[in-house]
């Protein structure tokens, strides 16, 4: 027999017992929670990381560009901060470090970290430090301080530091601990080497149980010549000022690049990008407003390796090389000495019967020109004739892209793999690319696809082609040295592969002679270089004026070679919207060459307007 009364009584008793259990859990989870968390902290070890001093960066003459020093900093051990003493510590910090903002101080105490850094206390006396460290929650640790000795100079090469983003942590997991990472330049490219291993401060509960010292980062000796870098930066700034004075431009002309390579080794002696920034401003964090202002001007772009410009006439050396190598000259000519009549425009027909007229930049024409004089005077018609020849002989065959292949074997359209982050590759267009674009970005190409006109544009460095200044400098270096390799800044380079190019002495001598003629009497850059006096006979270069779409002014290019008798340096200069290459980029390069030759650099003067 089931006994209902006893069942009810039993149910009641069980309910009471379970209420007791719930009360017990309530005690555990709500009332005694703090104690439990404290015990969890005690039985688990936690680590706080302090960055080790970063490796220092030197230029090639042992000038320190970026230095690291350990300076004592005050930290608060947040595990020792509780409701009772928080206001005492806040007051203490406010009173002793008057230049700290109140919000900064209150944010410190809300951090979820084990410790927070309060301030650099290098300036404090021994007694003052003693009195600080007598307070229980205060700790003093050495913290590395980064200093960039030349401020804005070479900022894009050296880069700057900042707090790691999630992306950064994926690339550099250790940066999550020390909370600092190279954001650009060498600081980023060599982050792993420069950062070293952070010091570990191991906590058990609120007490510091052990300190495991990290190891400092590795120094970098760079190929950079800081004195040359200063001259190059000044020269580029002068050129821009000149361009702003002489041209009516809707945009302020402020972007540009200089690359100086050592022809023998491909070391980067100088790499200027304007506008620039002062990496010292990032050391203690930069305000959003300042960051945005810099960002709008384009200061974070490293133009020598990221700026992608149509190269204009500086690209003509590709066809120059092709013509010699393939024995491919304008119709009717069989050698470099053969001449055509340049009448200032080219009238011709394509196979499809269309009649085209191409106008040279010089209306009255260059007269009788051969390969050499069309480099010297930058005659477009001669090169168009070469393009026509390629098109008529090879259209639709496997050799159709012969010009592009020559460009690519000089490194165009591909990364140079310089040891800096975020390099851009530029574009060398051909039929295949146009077909890809017709699908992916149809607004960039015409429905007809790749035409002879595109090849004619390409041969004079116009149209869809884009190149970076480092690519151009590297291409000239490759042609003159006969070796293709990556340009580099860190002198500690292993397995730097060199690809030998099919060029012979005779060709190189012809090329140097013709580049030399550009800066001499009758050449496009003579006006800018005549100030060198007799020395002008031993330098060379090539001007370039690349047209831009829209209302943007032309891109001003010059590639300089120093010297002709003993080729040592190649200098590529670009001024975005700087107009004529011979007028702006050429005199900028001339001033840098003066410095390279140990001559007192004279101010940048406006040269002749040509293409």
């Amino acid at each position: 027999m089931f006994f209902q009364q006893k069942f009810r009584l039993l149910s009641f008793l069980i309910s009471v017992i379970f209420l007791g259990l719930i009360f017990n859990i309530y005690n555990l989870q709500i009332i005694n929670r703090e104690d439990a968390i404290e015990s969890v902290n005690i039985q688990t070890l936690d680590t706080f990381y302090i960055a080790s001093p970063r490796g220092e960066i030197y230029d090639t003459n042992n000038n320190k560009l970026a230095s690291s020093s350990l300076e004592p900093h005050l930290f608060v051990n947040l595990r020792k901060i509780n409701d009772k003493n928080i206001s005492k510590y806040e007051q203490y910090i406010k009173y002793n470090f008057t230049d700290l903002e109140d919000t900064f101080i209150s944010d410190l105490f809300e951090s979820k970290n084990l410790m927070v850094k309060v301030a650099n206390i290098t300036e404090l006396s021994f007694d003052e430090r003693q009195s600080l460290s007598s307070l229980d929650a205060f700790e003093i640790f050495d913290f590395p301080v980064r200093k960039y000795e030349y401020d804005n100079i070479a900022s894009h090469i050296i880069g700057y530091l900042g707090e790691p983003s999630l992306e950064d942590i994926k690339s550099f997991p250790l940066a999550a601990y020390s909370n600092i990472v190279g954001k650009n330049g060498l600081e980023r490219y060599y982050q792993k080497d420069l950062a070293g291993n952070p010091t570990q401060i191991i906590f058990q509960g609120s007490e510091i149980k052990e300190i495991v010292n990290g190891s400092p980062g590795k120094d970098i000796i760079s190929s950079l010549d800081i004195d040359l870098q200063i001259v190059a930066t000044e020269s580029l700034l002068q050129g821009m000022q000149l361009a702003n004075e002489r041209f009516e431009s809707s945009n302020k002309i402020q972007k540009g690049a200089v690359v100086v390579l050592d022809i023998r080794t491909n070391e980067v002696l100088s790499l200027v990008s304007l506008p620039d920034y002062n990496p010292n401003n990032f050391v203690d964090g930069i305000s959003n407003r300042e960051f945005n202002e810099l960002n709008i001007t384009g200061a974070f772009n490293n133009y020598p390796i990221q700026g992608q410009y149509p190269p204009g006439s500086v690209f003509k050396v590709v066809a120059y090389w092709l013509a010699e190598q393939e024995n491919l000259y304008p119709e009717g000519l069989s050698s470099r000495n053969g001449k055509i009549d340049c009448e200032g425009s080219l009238v011709f027909g394509f196979n499809d019967g269309s009649q085209q007229v191409y106008n040279d930049w010089k209306e009255e024409g260059h007269g009788r020109v051969n390969l050499s004089s069309s480099i010297k005077e930058s005659c477009n018609v001669y090169f168009w004739d070469i393009a026509l020849k390629i098109w008529r002989d090879y259209e639709g065959t496997s050799s159709e892209s012969i010009l592009q292949e020559y460009a690519k074997s000089l490194g165009f359209g591909e990364l140079t793999n310089i040891d800096l982050p975020y390099e851009a590759s530029g574009v060398v267009p051909d039929r295949n690319l146009f077909e890809d674009w017709a699908v992916s970005q149809p607004e960039r190409v015409r429905a007809e696809g790749w035409l002879g006109g595109d090849l004619m544009n390409l041969i004079i460095g116009q149209g869809a082609i884009t190149t970076t200044p480092i690519q151009v400098a590297n291409a000239y270096r490759t042609l003159i040295s006969g070796k293709l390799s990556k340009p580099y800044i860190n002198l500690d380079q292993q397995d730097n592969k060199e690809l030998l190019l099919e060029v012979n002495e005779t060709f190189i001598n012809f090329l140097l002679q013709d580049l030399n003629s550009v800066t001499n009497e009758g050449g496009t850059a003579h006006a800018s270089f005549s100030i060198l006096g007799n020395n002008v006979k031993d330098v060379g270069g090539k001007t370039g004026t690349a047209q831009n779409s829209g209302d943007k002014n032309n891109t001003s290019w010059f590639v300089g070679i120093d010297s002709i008798s003993n080729p040592r340096y190649v200098i590529a200069t670009v001024v975005e919207e700087g107009g004529s290459g011979s007028a702006i980029a050429a005199p900028v390069t001339r001033r840098i060459i003066q410095s390279l030759r140990g001559v007192n650099p004279t101010p940048v003067k406006f040269g002749e307007i040509t293409e």
């Binding site: 027999m1 089931f2 006994f3 209902q4 006893k6 069942f7 039993l10 149910s11 069980i14 017992i17 379970f18 259990l21 719930i22 017990n24 859990i25 309530y26 555990l28 989870q29 709500i30 005694n32 929670r33 104690d35 439990a36 968390i37 015990s39 969890v40 039985q43 688990t44």
Partner: protein, 356 residues
């Protein structure tokens, strides 16, 4: 037989509340195991997938039992009880694993008869009571499987079986005074046998060590429960991995649950079970059949005692006994046995025309 008003699932209908509770409790188990695992992968080594597989098996079993009428259950009770008891005897012929004989090794899975003696014992006592057999004999026969389990040895299940027997005798018409006298007598003779060395010291250690120091696992699990706080840590697995708790996915799973879902989660879990027992109690009061009353009371007693012992262990108020939390702990035997209990209760619900 009375005609069913509504038939929702199964040939004779299924009580919706019971089904939803059963599914939801299974789901909570998956969620908790998921927070303890490195994620879900589809192999049986993965605890979440393992539990899901057992859950699906359990749900199928739950529906299958709907096909068996209470009359049939009643008819086969003695046979079932006898069979399971026989299996318990046969266990003594197997090789001990880690010093105990609890499982038949069936290759892929282990079969644990003591899970089913819980059910068989409840059915046996219910049937005997409802047919008014001699209470002394009932008590003595009940004691046979309990003793067999005790000598496996399995202290946890032994206590549970004693509790089931005790609770069922308590709600019968036997005088409470008599029951307590017998319990007292039993207790005294137990400790007497202990003194004489008849009993394995393994069980003894479990009891005595508690009074010296709180078990390591228990103090760790208290920390984990505390760290859960009011609203829980929700999937912040990093910290709970630092708080090392042995057998965290089985006997100590409640501590992980309380860590993840906090006091709110605990209240929800208790609420679900309280609602279940409330519905069962309503049937106990309303049904005319003594057999059904005793079956429901016995099963409730079994589940309540398991939950009580498990939580008391996890929060450290009694020594560690190794009792799983029904439907929450990882483990096939326990979940399948609980599914049988839910299935039979479901049958009682629908035979009483309670479908929602």
């Amino acid at each position: 037989m009375i005609n069913r008003k509504i038939t929702i699932l199964g040939p004779e209908g299924t009580n919706l509340t019971l089904l939803i509770l059963f599914l939801f409790l299974n789901f909570i188990s998956w969620l908790t195991l998921f927070t303890l695992s490195d994620g879900l992968t589809f192999d049986l080594q993965n605890s979440v997938f393992r539990q899901m597989t057992f859950s699906i098996l359990a749900i199928i079993l739950f529906f299958a039992i709907t096909y068996i009428s209470l009359d049939q259950i009643n008819n086969y009770t003695y046979l079932f009880f006898g069979l399971v008891s026989l299996l318990l005897v046969l266990l003594f012929t197997t090789d001990p694993k880690e010093g105990v004989r609890r499982w038949f090794d069936l290759g892929l899975i282990d079969f644990q008869p003591s899970e089913y003696i819980k059910i068989a014992l409840v059915l046996f006592i219910s049937k005997s009571f409802s047919e008014n057999f001699n209470k002394v004999y009932i008590g003595l026969i009940s004691f046979i499987p309990i003793a067999l389990v005790f000598f496996q040895p399995d202290l946890g299940t032994t206590t549970l079986l004693l509790a089931i027997t005790l609770s069922m005798f308590l709600v019968s018409d036997i005088k409470t005074r008599t029951i307590f006298s017998i319990v007292l007598l039993g207790g005294v003779s137990f400790f007497g046998l202990l003194e004489l060395g008849f009993i394995n010291s393994y069980q003894l250690n479990r009891i005595t060590s508690f009074f010296d120091s709180v078990d390591f696992a228990q103090s760790q699990s208290r920390l984990a429960i505390s760290s859960g706080g009011f609203s829980g840590q929700f999937f912040e697995v990093e910290k709970i991995n630092q708080i090392f708790i042995p057998v965290q996915s089985t006997d100590f799973i409640f501590s992980a649950y309380a860590y993840q879902f906090g006091f709110i989660g605990v209240i929800i879990l208790f609420g679900l079970w309280a609602f279940f027992f409330y519905r069962v109690a309503k049937i106990i009061v309303s049904t005319q059949s003594d057999f059904e009353k005793f079956v429901l009371a016995g099963f409730s007693g079994s589940l309540i005692f398991q939950i009580f012992i498990n939580i008391s262990t996890v929060i450290g108020i009694i020594p560690v006994t190794g009792m799983p939390f029904p439907l929450l702990s990882l483990g096939g035997s326990s979940i399948v046995a609980t599914a049988v209990i839910f299935g039979i209760i479901n049958r009682i619900f629908i035979e009483n025309n309670v479908v929602i």
